[in-house]
Each structure stands twice: as C-alpha cells, then as structure tokens.
Amino acid sequence: MKQKREKPRFWLSFGLLILVAVSSCGSTPEVVPLSGIAELKPASLSAGEKLNVATTTNIVGDVVRQVGGDRIALTTLMGSGVEPHSWVPTPANMAAIHDAQVLFVNGAGLETNLDKILQNSGGNAVVVPLSQGIGSLLPESTSVAPGDKPGSQQEAVDPHVWFDVRNVISWAKTIQGTLSALDPANAEAYRANAEAYIQQLDQLDAWIVEQMATIPDTNRKLVTNHPAFGYLAKRYGLEQVGAVYPISPSSEPSAQDIAALEDAIRQHGVPAVFTESTVSPNLAQQVAKDTGVKLVSLYSDSLSGRGSLVTSYVDLMRYDVKAIVDALR
C-alpha cells in the first residue's frame, strides 16, 4: 500500500526538478551593441564582491586586465598557445561563461561558433564584441592561388584587429565604458587605469611607426603562416603578399596554393617567411627551405605563457615588430 503512494510522489518531484532545470537554462548571454553600453544597468554586487569578467582570447584578456586592474575577477578562457580559430570550449569554459557577468570577445568571426557557444552555455552575461566600432574591418583576402574559392573570401572579414594599435586604444575605451556602467563604484579606478594604458599604447604606436620606417621600400613584404597581419600591414606600410594557410589555420592549403605562394615569394623577392606560435610551422619550414628565405617566428593570435617572452599585448607587439624589422631590413 505504501509503495503505491510513494511512486507517483517520486515522479512528481522528479518532474518538477526537470522543469526547474530547464527553465533556468532559458537565459542566454546577450550581445550588446556599442550604442547600448552607456545604458547598461549596474550589476548586482554585494559589498566587497568583484565584477565577474570573462574574456575569450588571452590578448583581449590582457587588455581587460590593464583597464580593470585588481578591481575585477578576471577569467581568460583561452590559455597561452591556444589557436582561436579552432577553439572548442571545455566544460569548465562553458561554466565560466555561464557564471560571468560580462564577457569580452574579439568578435568579427575570430571565435568560431560563438553564437552556438553562447546559446549552449546559458547565463546572463553581457557580451561585448570588441571589434565592433573599429574603423574599417579589412576583408580577408591574401590567397594568391588562381581559381579562388568563390564567395568565402569576399564575405569573411579579417578579425586580427589588434595589430593596429589604434584599434586596441578603441578597445580600452569600450572596456572602460562597459566596466564603469556595470560597476559604477569603481568607475574612477577604471578611468585612471584606462588613461594610463592608452598613454602607453600611444607611445607604442609611435615607436612602431618609427621602426617600420627603417625598412627599405623593396622589402616591405610579409609572408606569414596565416593572414593575420592585415591591420599591421595597412597601418604601418607593409604588404601581405601571401600566407601558407591562405584562409585559416584549420583549412588545408592545396598543392596549387603552395606552388603559387612559392612563385610569389620568388617573384617579389620576399626576404623572410614568418611562422606563428599557434600554427604548426612544418609547411612554412618547407616553403622557406625551398625558396631559400629566412624563417622567423612571431606571435599572432595568442600570448605565450606566464614567465615567458610575451606575456602582454604590448610585449607581443614589441617582439613582433622587432622581429619583422630585423628580418626585412
């Protein structure tokens, strides 16, 4: 007799549990347009609680840290050396997104499947794509092979906006605005941090211009592992002649692509081929060997680990520019 009564009770509570779980998964992080940042409502923070901030790439993470300082609790999802184009979030990453109050992403298609990830993670984070509001986004088109695949390159945009320092200055302002709106208590600190950082960035920009000027005109040609340096080229007067992986690091070049690249290298008299920390250098090594040019390694999509060479955005830019200038001079 007792068993009969308990059975329906069990199923009822089980069903309720499912309903509760499902309903709480109804929320999705919301992408906020640039114009909407000023109108963000402050997040509910208890006394002494820091704003929970997450970022996708570690380059974004570094810039956010510079502005937020120790007033925020920052989680960077992609560790050092992680390739953003093919990043797949771990369960821990998904949980971090769910728990965050604000998520800064690079945007412009750098993080693949971002929409789906946000839908799946749930949570109430405010999502800020830092690449919006950037002056002009360049198209991604460095494939030199004949018979280009139609459509894909015209629509795609180059997401590596941080290679133009002025874009990162713009990032800093957006970040400051967002943090101040969500955490007005610390607005003054954010403002001061941002100001100091932007000053640093201005100096960096000037330094790069000065350095690049020392490269002879005939050598201003970049051949890299994947076409990440479009903004660098445009701002500082170089030309992206070609890339080993013309579309993205996860998409194989065909034999004709490589043949065309080697031809281009010879034709333009390019002095060096640049590899990157996040993409396998194997093919680039072969290309450099076959064409007899130097092989130089750079950092593009990720910082290196703690305690190593390139731990901040500024470090990355200084390192890369120095390496490029040395190789091309």
């Binding site: 065909s254 034999a255 396998s280 076959d290």
Partner: protein
C-alpha cells in the same frame, strides 16, 4: 602535346611536389607488398585498427614534445603485439580483440588531443595525410624503414608464405610459427607508421588493401601478386598526386580513388575472373548450345 608535357612537368618544378611524389611512390609500393599478406590473410580490419590505434602515440608525442614519428612507431608496435597476444589467448575472437583495442586507442588519442588546443590542423594531417609537408628527413626515414621491411619480406619469403598458406605444414616443418606471426604483425605496423604521413589514418587501410586486391584478381602466384600490386600502388600514387595538384583536391583521397578505379577495372575485365568476361563466356556458351540444337 605541349600542353600535356606542361601538365606533367609543371608540378615537378616545385621541390615539395617532387618530395611528395617520391614519398607517395615509396609508400604505394611498400603498402602493396605488405598488403598482399593483409589481403590473403583477411587482416584488413587489423590494418585499419592499427592505423587508428597510433593516434594516442602521436598525441602523446606532441605532449611530450618528442618527434611524432617515434610516438607513432612505439604505439604501432605495442598495439600490434597486444592484438597478437589477445587473439592468441583465444578468450575472445580475433575480430573482437581488434575491435576492443582499436576503440580504446582511438578514444585515448582523442582524449589526449583534446588537451592540445594549438596546432589544430595537425589533427587533420594525422587523419588525412600531409603529403605536401614531407621533408627530406621524412623521405630518408621512409626509404630506410621501407627498405628494411621489404628486405624482411624478401629474405623470409618462403617462411611467410608457408605460415600464411598452410600453418599445419609450417608446424610440422618446425618453423617458429609464433615468432613469424608476430614478425608479420610488426612488419605491418612499420608499414602503417611509415605511410601515415602520406595517406593519413582514415585512408590507410585503402593503401594496404586496394592495390593488393587488384593484383590478386590479375595474378596466380604470390610474388607476381606482390610485383603487380607494387606497380599499381606506385602508379596510383603518382596519378593521384598529379590529379590533386591540377584539380585542387586532397591528395590522400585522390590517391585512394585512383587505386579504387584500377580495382574496378580489374574486377570487371580480369582475364579469368572479371565480371565482363564471365558474362561474355556465359553468353557464348548459351549461344553455342542454341546452335547445336
């Protein structure tokens, strides 16, 4: 005519194509010769399993920062011996033993690789080959190990023949059956490891089985089968690579498709066993019978 010459010569002006062609020819030949045993002894599943089982070896090598080749080699040899041992024990059928080990290794490899979030395209390379990225060192390794395997096949030709055709005779002749069986597994493992860069894991079994199967339809003696298989394998590899260059398709896949094309030709037109000849002979006989009435 000049156009044809150009089509033929153009890829050869790029060192990476020349290296790729050399590697493909060596691999095509080697796989066909060893593939003879794979086909005759029904070991296609074993070959496929071995190719996939190498994944954790490669992933481990990544994580430990040692050469991928050695990771693949050690894993390949371990798996071959493990499968040999488990099948011998007889507690489960060989088919089952292979299935279990195959799946476990593949899962282990995927798990390990999921912790490596950089160099992502190399997973594609492992699965589908990276013939365009063959270096001089790779070529020497392939040639050296390939020669070693072929040497073993030549020197132990009659012994391997006997254990494959009539193990009972082998036992009565006091041949070391077990040792030779394990040796064959090791030779197959070496072949797979050496060939991985050219065709990749997913298509490996095709290189082992298809040229040898084509040769099987065309020959009556074992060493003829090996030679014809080697020729088919080498020609398919070259043709496949040329096709992939001019048509912009994945090289591993192109090679396998050419191999399959030759197999279909043999299947249809082989002098004694081909479908077309059998049908034609049947018609002829029926026609004869009709006349004689």
């Amino acid at each position: 005519m000049a156009d044809l010459m150009h089509l033929f010569l153009q890829p050869l002006s790029y060192p990476f194509m020349v290296r790729g062609l050399l590697a493909s020819v060596m691999v095509g030949t080697l796989c066909a010769v060893i593939g003879t045993y794979v086909v005759l002894r029904g070991m296609a599943f074993f070959g496929d399993a071995l190719a996939h089982a190498i994944l954790p070896g490669v992933a481990g090598a990544y994580l430990l920062q040692i050469s991928l080749f050695w990771g693949a080699l050690i894993m390949g040899l371990l798996t071959a011996v493990a499968i040999g041992y488990v099948s011998q024990r007889g507690q489960v059928k060989e088919d089952t033993a292979i299935g279990v080990i195959f799946a476990a290794c593949l899962a282990l490899g995927v798990a390990l690789l999921s912790t490596v979030q950089t160099y992502s395209v190399d997973l594609t390379h492992i699965l589908f080959g990276d013939v365009l990225g063959v270096s001089d060192t790779d070529l020497w390794l392939t040639a050296g190990l390939g020669l070693l395997v072929l040497l073993a096949v030549v020197l132990l030709y009659k012994e391997l023949l006997v254990i494959s055709f009539d193990p009972i005779l082998a036992a009565t002749l006091r041949l070391p059956l077990n040792a030779l069986h394990y040796l064959l597994l090791v030779l197959i493992a070496l072949t797979v490891v050496v060939s991985l860069q050219t065709v990749g894991v997913a298509l490996m079994v095709a290189m082992l089985v298809t040229p040898a199967a084509t040769a099987y339809l065309l020959t009556r003696r074992l060493w003829h089968m090996m030679i014809v298989g080697a020729v088919v394998g080498a020609v398919s590899s070259v043709a496949g690579l040329y096709l992939s260059f001019h048509l912009n398709v994945a090289s591993g896949a192109a090679v396998v498709l050419v191999c399959t094309f030759f197999f279909v030709l043999a299947f249809l037109f082989a002098p004694r066993q081909g479908v077309v000849w059998s049908w034609w002979r049947g018609r002829k006989a029926a026609h004869q019978a009709l006349i004689e009435q």
